[in-house]
Structure formats: structure tokens, C-alpha cells
Amino acid sequence: MDFADALLVSIVTASTPLLLAAIGELVVERSGVLNLGVEGMMIMGAVCAFATSLTTGNPYLGILAGILGGAAMSLLFAFLTLGLVANQYATGLALSLLGLGFSGMIGENYVGTPGVKLPTLDIPVLSDLPVVGDALFNQDILFYIAILLVFFVSWLLFKSRWGLILRAVGENHNSAHALGYNVNRVRLYSVLFGGVCSGLSGAYLSLVYTNLWIENMTAGRGWIALALVVFASWLPWRTIAGAYLFGAVLILQFHAQGAGWEVPSQLLSALPYLATIVALVFISRNRTVARVNTPSCLGQSFVPDR
């Protein structure tokens, strides 16, 4: 494996968790819910996946546990924001803090213990391709799931009936209700989907990326995923480009430090957010794009007027 190969593999590894969490949050936001608790759901996924795979010795059971961890957190969020109509912003922030603290408690005994690594699935022939072979076709199952999820979400949102309803609920919940749709039920499902994706993303971190449990190991990736959704202007395909761009920046950060570059690493860590701001400016300059893709009811609770 030469340097280019290795670099590409490391970029893909850094990007996959971002992609997983972002594609989930994209669905959540399209339904009009802003869940700022991605970081918390992610880290709960990470710790559940790590602990389970270590105890059972089976990384796939670990993935399942990661999914359940993320989903449980998202159900808590749904209960508070959809059931009790709590403020989505505050609840999301609380969820992030809760996840970080709670996962630290669960993971206390696992600190420093090497985990079970998720095996890679070598796709014959294709994985022998030069440069991209290893990065794209000799990967673990979560990488393939991430890519498939983008296909799936893109189909779901723009080709399926469910997606139409989901987008309608995010665009104007009053109209959706008037047409007879159960706004909060649609939102519950999409929040749950977001939790599952965040859980997968966390599982990837602790089973593939580090293969260790470290407290606070998400290190702000949940926030990058949130920024990524906006950067992608709520379009599934753009999350791939964004995830790889942001992933590359993360990797560049390490290499820059290693190579003794003058660029302060703080600036590089800030890059994804800067890029998001620039993207936001471009989106809002183009009225049609902003109108069509930004869910108008984002962050607003729905209580039918009775």
C-alpha cells in the first residue's frame, strides 16, 4: 500500500461516520425536526457497540447494539419534543450532553481495552483496482451501508410516497394536517431513523475508526454532521461530497500537524463550519434553491389548532 492508497483509505474512514450521521439527520430535518443531539446519539451508539462486541466477541452484534443505543436516545428526544412539545433546540442540546455523560459512565470499565475489529469485506476483482481498490472495495459492512443509505434516502425522499409525505410535513405541517396526515407520527419515524443512523455512525467509530473506547471519542463529529446537512442543502447526494470533503479536512489536519505546517490546527478544525457558513450564504442568495430545499417548518413544534 503506497502513500496515496493509505491517504485515501484514511479519508474514507474519517468520512464514513460523518456520512452515516448526516444522512440520518437529513431525513429528520426534512420532516421539520431539528435534532441537535446527534453527538449524544452517536456516542451512545459507540459505547453500546463497543461494549457488546467486546462481551459477545461478535462485532455484528455490536453494530446492532449501536443501532439500539442511538435509537433509544432518539426515542427519548421524540418523547420530549413530539410528545411533550418541548423546545427542539434545548432538548437536542440536552441530549448531546446526556449522551456524552452517560456513555462515559457505561464505558468506564472499557477504557484502554482493545476492542473487536469489524472485518472488511473484500469485493473480488474490484478491490484490486489501483488507488481506489482498497479505499472503496475492501471495506467493512458499515461503509457499504452508508453508501446504500444515500441511495435509499434519495429514493425515499424523491421517488416514494413516504418521502412526499415526509417532505410535506417538514414544509408545512398545518397543510399536512389539514390533508389528514398525522404530522407527529411521521416525525416520530424520521427521528427514529435519524437515531438508527447516528447509532451506526457511533458503532463505526468504536469498531472501525479507533477500535478502542475513549471517553468523548466522537470529538465533535456529531456537530460536523449537523453542519454537513446544511452544507448539502438538504440534498442526499451532496452529503457524499460534503462528507468526503469534511473527512479530507480532518485527515489533512493530522498530516499538517505531522508535517509541521504553519497552519494552526484550530483553523483547520474550524474549516467544516466555515464551509457551512459559505454554503448557507450561497443557498440563501438563490431564492428558488432555498425555497425548494429548506424545510420551512424546521425546528417548529406542531400542535394542531383545535
Binding site: 410516497r161 412526499l164 409525505i165 417532505r167 410535506a168 414544509e171 408545512n172 398545518n174 397543510s175 399536512a176 394536517h177 389539514a178 390533508l179 389528514g180 396526515y181 398525522n182 431564492r287 428558488t288 425555497r291 425548494v292 430545499n293 429548506t294 420551512s296 394542531p304 389548532d305 383545535r306
Partner: protein, 530 residues
């Protein structure tokens, strides 16, 4: 009638805080009838039909559907029973296409491409042509109204509730809608019809229920009444007519000038404005007629500053403002009333006094802000109060949230808010959308009075009766171009119809003969105010 009623509402009562919006109202709808629900603005019509559609819960009362008592916990249940509704304030999705909006209201299993074809075909048959792939955000309220209606009809409901479906349609469109409604009633469907246009009620409705201040006051057969007897049943007194004197404008100063205004289309289905020129003189009311979707919203956006144009294309008070913000234009004395009152003209969740501030914070003298930072609430409150008094706004509390006003009362507020400023130039789109006969006369008179005090007033409207009632000059907008504004004496319904379909009348969506055949009906439609 001996047949069992389709729907029976008994003792429906709805209380909003201290306000009784519906007070023990009874309503019986027979199969196959077109039943009018009448009443002045704020009488409680929309509240009643929202209860019948399950989107509001009655405080008391029961609903009987085909002989069985039903409890409608949400609109989904009403739709399952076969009740369809055209809302007064639309329930559309702006960022979606027409076909997506309609698909959402129909059962699953439709292919989008097929549905698109069907929509274009059916909507043309109904005389409410729609392009399936245009984005709702790009459409005018008239076109949105068409979507609402077509969507409701495609659902194939047993009971069709229509809350003011014709208030933004042209007479030709309304005429074709009536044909469709009569046909549907002939098939045994029932229609509950709300309108402030009493002539059309007289023509198509079999029975009428009249509400006043939330109470049922009368049942009648509209065809046996006159428009004015209906109006007095509703209001309890008769309606004043609009007074207009003739004025010579040759020496009047030009207060606003549009000079070869071009504006590119904002999207694939939006309209491009091409070389629009118009002089507005102090003292006159100029009206722009046209079928919805021919560039009216774009023109409004360009004049108000929501979209920038070449600097010299819009001149207000001798200053080029084509690329200037709306506040700059307002400071020069201009005021603007957009057509979408609920989503564009006000913030529904803010109080009336706060909504006053939204359009007048920059232009008011003396300022509404302390040191340009703190809001003078007493001042905005007083202005809100004054508007409510002058424009007879009926409300449940002194300073309600804008969203809780009835449609017509909200309309009076958005127009009143700008007229109250005594602007030197007033641009108003659909000034009397959904207001009752009395209030329409009030608003029209206020527009004429404002002009006669020296201001220039530009009215963009689909309502030809209104235009003939108040305009000194009339121009017609068609596919983004504006005809020369001609004095009202030189205009006729036929001429306007011709201009609406393009000068050559080739592929205009309006067929000209129907304009002529409807001329009488259209004239009659407005006589409720006369």
C-alpha cells in the same frame, strides 16, 4: 325535501377564549344540493366549516353524517367519510410542485407522470388550467386557488366544502367552476358554498343559511331573494355604494414611473417581465387587470423592491429606486399591500400592533422607535387601534394575534395599515380579497379618497367589477407585458378580455366569446356593493 340529509349539524358552538365564534348553529345539507353559507366578515363561517371538516373541535354540539352521529377527531376522519374542503387560507406546500401537492391529497398508487397528465387535462376541462410541474411558490393566489379547487374535486368527495373559492378567480374562471359545481350537484354530491359574491350565490345555490355574530339568523332560498335583501339579512342594514367623481389628470404630477421594466423569470415556470412602462399620477387610481399568473406577482415584487431591477426601471418621487430596498421606497412615501395576506403581509403569530411595526418602522414620522432601538409600543398600539376603528375590524380582544382574525378582517387590516399612513404612492394587490360587501365598499372608497387627496394608487386585481368601480385608467397584463393604460371610458369587458388573451388572441388561455357571454353576469356579480 323528504330524503335523509347527508349532513346534519346540531347546536354547534365554538368558543375562542371569551369570543363565541359559533353559537348553537344548526345546519342541514341535503344530498345533491348547493347550500350557501353566508355572513359578514367574522360571522363564523370558516369556523363552522372547519368544525365540519374535523380541523377544529366544537365546544358543544353534534354532527350527524348520513344518519349516524360522528365525532371528527381530525381532518383524516372527515376525508374518510367523503368530505373534501377548499380552505379560505390555502393548505398548499410552497416548495412543491402542483402535481406533488395534488398527489398528497389522493390515495396512494398514482404514477406521477400519469397524474400530471390527468391534472392538466381535468384542470383544463374545469376551466382552471394548471401546469403540473410548476412550483407553487412561483404562483399567484389565483393559480393557487385553482390548485386547491382541482385537488378537492379530484378527491371525488360526497360533500364539497368551499370557503370563498371564487374571490380571486376571474369571472370566466368562476363561470366554468359554476358549471362544474352544477354538474357535480347533478350527480348527487352536495356542496357547502361560502361566498361574499351574492349574485353568484343567487345563481347557483339552492338554499342558504345565514350567520350573524356566530348565530344562525335565517334560512332562505337565494333565488327568491335579491342581492340587497340577502346583504341586509347578513349585515342587518343596507350597504353604501362607492362614490367617485371625475377628475382631469393632465396636469397632475407623476409620482411613480415604471420605465421599460425587465425582470428575468425566477424559475422554469415563472413569468418574465418584458418592457413594462407606466406613469402613475397623483390623484388617480390605475388598475392592472389580468388572468392570475401573467406576471402580476413579479410586477409587484419589482415595484416593492423584493426583487431588484435596473435602477431607472422604477422611479418613485423622481428618484431611481429599482435597486433600492423596500424601506428606501417606503421612506419616499410608497406603501405596498401584497396579495398573500397570511404568509406575506403579516406574521400570524404576532399581534396587530406588532404587525403595524413591521411595515412602518422605517417610514413613520415621528419615529416609532426610541433612539432607533426601542419600540414605542404605545404608539404602535394606538395606530393598530385606529386602523381597527377606521376599517371596522371585528376582533375578539383589543390586540389579537393576526392569525386569529377572520379572513376578511385580516384583509381589512393589511389594507388599512397602509392607507392609514396616507402614502403618496400606494400599490395594492387584490385589495378586497374575501371581504364582505360592506367592507369591500369601505376599502374601495378609502382607495378612491386616498387618490383624490393627491396620492397615486395602483390596484392589481382579478376582479373586473372592482376595477370598473374604482379605476380611472386600466391596463392589462398578459404574459409579462403590460398594455397601455387607457381611461376607463375607453375600456370595456370585451376589450379587456381581448387584451388578456394577447392582442392577437391566439393562444391565450381565455376564450374570448365566453368573456362576452359573461359580461352581464360579471356586471351583476359586483352589484351587491352598488
Amino acid at each position: 325535501m323528504t330524503s335523509a340529509p347527508l349532513l346534519e349539524a346540531k347546536g354547534i358552538t365554538k368558543r375562542f377564549g371569551t369570543l363565541l365564534a359559533n353559537d348553537a348553529v344548526d345546519l342541514v345539507v341535503q344530498p345533491g344540493e348547493i347550500h350557501a353559507l353566508l355572513g359578514e366578515n367574522g360571522a363564523g363561517k370558516s369556523t363552522l366549516v372547519k368544525i365540519l371538516y374535523g380541523s377544529l373541535e366544537p365546544t358543544a354540539g353534534q354532527i350527524v353524517w348520513k344518519g349516524k352521529e360522528v365525532r371528527l377527531k381530525d381532518p383524516a376522519e372527515a376525508r374518510k367519510l367523503g368530505i373534501g374542503m377548499v380552505f379560505q387560507h390555502f393548505s398548499l406546500f410552497d416548495s412543491m410542485t402542483v402535481v406533488e401537492n395534488i398527489a398528497l391529497a389522493l390515495p396512494n398508487g398514482q404514477k406521477m407522470a400519469e397524474l400530471s397528465r390527468r391534472i392538466e387535462q381535468v384542470s383544463a376541462e374545469y376551466g382552471l388550467p394548471l401546469k403540473a410541474n410548476s412550483l407553487v411558490a412561483d404562483l399567484s393566489v389565483g393559480e393557487r386557488q385553482r390548485i386547491e379547487i382541482v385537488r378537492c374535486l379530484l378527491q371525488d368527495p360526497q360533500l364539497i366544502i368551499m370557503d370563498e373559492p371564487t374571490s380571486v378567480l376571474t369571472p370566466q374562471e368562476a363561470e366554468l367552476l359554476f358549471k362544474t359545481l352544477l354538474r357535480l350537484a347533478g350527480e348527487g354530491r352536495s356542496i357547502l358554498y361560502i361566498s361574499h359574491r351574492l349574485e353568484e350565490v343567487k345563481r347557483i345555490c339552492d338554499t342558504a343559511t345565514i350567520l350573524r355574530h356566530g348565530k344562525l339568523v335565517a334560512h332562505c332560498t337565494p333565488s327568491e331573494e335579491t342581492a340587497s335583501s340577502l346583504a341586509s339579512l347578513m349585515v342587518g342594514s343596507s350597504v353604501k355604494s362607492v362614490q367617485r367623481d371625475k377628475v382631469d389628470f393632465t396636469d397632475a404630477p407623476v409620482l411613480m414611473r415604471l420605465d421599460h421594466l425587465d425582470l428575468p423569470a425566477s424559475g422554469p415556470f415563472a413569468v418574465e417581465l418584458k418592457g413594462i412602462s407606466l406613469d402613475l399620477k397623483g390623484g388617480e387610481v390605475v388598475a392592472i387587470a389580468g388572468v392570475a399568473g401573467n406576471g402580476q406577482s413579479e410586477l409587484f415584487d419589482a415595484i416593492s423592491g423584493e426583487r431588484a431591477t435596473a435602477p431607472d426601471a422604477v422611479i418613485i418621487d423622481d428618484q431611481s429606486v429599482g435597486n433600492k430596498s423596500i424601506t428606501v421606497r417606503r421612506k419616499l412615501g410608497a406603501a405596498f399591500v401584497p396579495e398573500e395576506r397570511l404568509s406575506h403581509a403579516v406574521v400570524p403569530s404576532l399581534r396587530l400592533s406588532e404587525n403595524v411595526l413591521l411595515t412602518r418602522h422605517g417610514s413613520e414620522e415621528p419615529s416609532m422607535m426610541h433612539k432607533g432601538v426601542f419600540i414605542k409600543r404605545t404608539k404602535s398600539g394606538k395606530i393598530g387601534q385606529r386602523i381597527a376603528e377606521n376599517f371596522d375590524i371585528r376582533k375578539g380582544e383589543p390586540d389579537p394575534h393576526a392569525g386569529s382574525l377572520s379572513g376578511g378582517n385580516l384583509q381589512k387590516f393589511v389594507v388599512g395599515r397602509e392607507i392609514d399612513r396616507s402614502p403618496s404612492v400606494l400599490i395594492v394587490s387584490q385589495p378586497t380579497w374575501g371581504v364582505d360587501a360592506g367592507a369591500a365598499a369601505l376599502i374601495r372608497q378609502a382607495l378612491i379618497d386616498l387618490a383624490r387627496e393627491g396620492s397615486a394608487v395602483l390596484v392589481i386585481s382579478q376582479d373586473l367589477d372592482e376595477i370598473f368601480e374604482i379605476a380611472d385608467r386600466i391596463a392589462v397584463i398578459n404574459k409579462g407585458t403590460l398594455s397601455e393604460a387607457k381611461p376607463v371610458e375607453d375600456m370595456s369587458l370585451e376589450k379587456i378580455g381581448l387584451l388578456m388573451g394577447g392582442v392577437h388572441g391566439d393562444d391565450g388561455s381565455i376564450d374570448i366569446p365566453s368573456v362576452q357571454s359573461n359580461a352581464g353576469a360579471a356586471e351583476a356579480g359586483g352589484s351587491n356593493a352598488a
